[in-house]
């Protein structure tokens, strides 16, 4: 039995055996996405037909027990007539499998099934795309799989144009921290839509992380970091705009933030020998033709964010004091006590807050889940300051502000290293 695939149910193994060897595989994790997944399946089908007509391809949907008929939509979705998008008919049939996944409910468990299917079918190039995408086109398949198939890349991260208030965890924590730690400018490390080689899928499966937060929201950053730290060839493709289904209001921000940051900080502890030596950062190759896109406005409730930040400062001070350096804690207290007009959470204060939390996480000074849950009000405080700063700013100006934040993370890395060594985290 191939390593890391023993968890697959026999029925799926049978289906994969019937499909046989394939060249390409695209996985779609889903849960109650009947409204959008049909469009995603058709885009993939079109992408295979248009850009890889002579390759054997498999589309696998791993579903988390949808109640809205998502698997049926996947089975029935069809592009109809290829004449509208193609000059000729595709040469090969796209195999399609829809299967429930096993393990902890979450995107990570769903993708694990896709990785195992890729290894068992011998796929050379794979991609995973979210099931709630509205802006996916057949071109995305070429952009995610093409660099792997034709140029020998192992990991292709997405590069989108997003609204300035879309992806704020990415912009304020995950991208700048990952860039400062590992020195690679992967702009959307938790973008959700990735291309990767078969050998990287095998590498992913060899890790025993499927009962941690990687099985949930942490999978995206884990895939990106594992590809970078494993020395794999990493690139990114410009996919245009990322427009996806409206978020599920029941999804708890605090849980989402905790799952993502716990994976980032755990990996930080694992790869300390690697990131300790890295200074500065450098860009990674970009594929695709970059163009400007119009984005829908995003409503923002600034007063609510400020209220949550101040409530946190009032109620969670005892936890923050265990994590934050006294100077950082004083800066946070000043920000919380300022009026709405004067409130600011400057980049350096934010960088030191994140670095202090990273050190406290390694030291286990506070229960790790509690520590990361206490980060939510701080994150909302920083986001509120960012919204105030960029209210009138255009996309280019916002990108410059984010670049300055990233440079601050890089400039302050000696502070992280110093605190890491002082507190014994650097062993």
């Amino acid at each position: 039995m191939v390593q890391g695939t023993s968890f697959l149910p026999d029925a799926l193994r049978q289906q994969l055996a019937e499909v046989g060897q394939v060249d390409l595989l695209v996985g779609i994790p889903s849960y109650n996405n009947a409204g959008t997944i049909g469009h995603v399946v058709r885009a993939i089908q079109g992408g295979f037909a248009k850009h890889f007509p002579d390759q054997r391809a498999l589309l696998i949907n791993s579903d988390g027990g949808s109640k809205d008929g998502t698997p049926e939509v996947v089975r029935q979705a069809s592009i109809g007539s290829f004449e509208t998008i193609l000059a000729a008919h595709p040469l090969r049939t796209v195999h399609r499998i829809t299967t429930p996944y096993h393990g902890i409910p979450g995107k990570g468990s769903a993708l694990r099934t896709a990785f195992a299917a890729a290894v068992l079918t011998g796929a050379k190039a794979c991609a995973v795309v979210d099931a709630d995408l509205r802006s996916i086109t057949p071109q995305w398949i070429e952009l995610l799989l093409g660099p792997v198939v034709r140029q020998g890349f192992d990991f292709i991260a997405p590069l989108y144009h997003r609204h300035k208030y879309d992806g704020t965890i990415t912009n304020s924590i995950v991208y700048p921290l990952t860039r400062a730690l590992y020195g690679k400018r992967v702009r959307q490390p938790i973008g959700g839509d990735f291309g990767f080689s078969g050998r990287l899928a095998e590498h992913y499966l060899a890790h025993d992380v499927w009962s941690s937060d990687v099985a949930r929201y942490g999978i995206d950053i884990w895939m990106t970091t594992t590809a970078i730290t494993g020395g794999f060839k990493v690139g990114q493709s410009f996919l245009g705009a990322k427009i996806h289904d409206a978020k599920d209001p029941s999804v708890d921000l605090s849980a989402m933030l905790m799952q993502v940051t716990s994976v980032v900080l755990t990996l930080m502890g694992t790869h300390v020998a690697l990131w300790r030596k890295v200074r500065g950062s450098h860009p990674v190759p970009v594929f695709g033709f970059e163009y400007a896109v119009g984005l829908e406005p995003v409503p923002v409730n600034l007063a609510r964010m400020l209220d949550r930040f101040r409530t946190g400062a009032r109620e969670l001070r005892s936890i923050w004091e265990l994590a934050l350096h006294p100077a950082t804690a004083a800066g946070v207290a000043r920000a919380a006590s300022a009026s709405d007009e004067e409130m600011d959470f400057p980049p350096q204060l934010w960088v030191r807050t994140i670095y202090d939390f990273a050190v406290a996480y390694q030291q286990r000074r506070v229960n790790r889940e509690h520590l990361l849950r206490s980060l939510t009000p701080l994150y909302l405080g920083r986001t509120a300051a960012f919204v105030k700063q960029t209210r009138e700013a255009g996309a280019q100006e916002v990108e410059e502000i984010l670049e300055e934040l990233c440079l601050q993370f890089e400039r302050d890395k000696p502070y992280l290293l110093q605190r890491w060594e002082e507190t014994g985290g650097g062993s």
Binding site: D166, T168, P299, E315, R373
Partner: protein, 234 residues
């Protein structure tokens, strides 16, 4: 008569000296056992404290909130040292009891037997109380974080109520373990717990109906505002 007196005197003295001679080895043995207990307890205290410190026990106690619980009781000593001391006293007391039994005094032997029978109850009561305090601290902090992140009103009050309920419950369980006025403690706990719940039901159901409605409405409004917020954080 004189002979009788001297005989009696010598007899008494003989009996006394015989008793002292009979008692002396026991006393010496008791003293020796006590000294051995002191040495063994001291060595174990040193060994256990060091092993725990090297193994990062103090850091673990920080993370799990044990240190915070001790802090509330104004105990600032490191948990590894504290555990070492507790072990020393346990070992020393056990040796002391063994030493006392070497004296072969009936009453003391009976007291020692009772002490050893009661010892497991004391240990389990202390453990129940410690676990209750730890669990109370942990769940209280979890409740505080949950309430703050959900934007609920009075998060501190929620956290205090959670902690109080768990600590009171563990205290009642510890007293039950010690068999101290079992029925009174149980009855008091049931009455107190029932009174609190009944009081809350009355306060929210009758007196504070308006307040309860406002709190729930505000919470619902906050949830609607959250859903309407267009942020996609990931």
């Amino acid at each position: 008569m004189t002979v009788t007196f001297s005989e009696r005197l010598l007899g008494s003295l003989n009996m006394f000296f015989e008793a002292v001679l009979r008692f002396l080895p026991g006393l010496l043995a008791a003293a020796l056992i006590l000294v051995i207990g002191l040495v063994v307890g001291w060595v174990l205290r040193l060994l256990v404290s060091r092993i725990l410190r090297v193994a990062g026990f103090d850091r673990y106690c920080d993370a799990s909130g044990v240190r915070a619980v001790l802090g509330h009781a104004d105990i600032r000593t490191a948990p590894s040292i504290l555990l070492g001391r507790a072990l020393f006293w346990l070992v020393f007391l056990s040796f002391a009891m063994a030493g006392l039994s070497a004296l072969q005094v009936g009453v003391i032997n009976q007291l020692i037997a009772e002490f050893f029978l009661y010892l497991p109850r004391i240990i389990s009561a202390v453990l129940v109380l410690l676990v209750g305090l730890l669990l109370g601290g942990f769940l209280s902090r979890a409740a505080l974080l949950g309430a703050v992140n959900a934007g609920m009103p009075s998060p501190r009050l929620i956290a205090i109520v959670v902690k109080l309920l768990i600590v009171v419950l563990s205290f009642a369980m510890a007293l039950e373990q010690l068999r101290i006025a079992t029925s009174i403690v149980l009855a008091a706990f049931i009455i107190a717990f029932g009174a609190v719940m009944f009081g809350l039901a009355l306060a929210f159901g009758l007196g504070g109906r308006g307040v309860a409605r406002r709190v729930l409405e505000r919470q619902w409004q906050r949830q609607r505002e959250d859903a309407a917020d267009g942020f996609s954080h990931l």
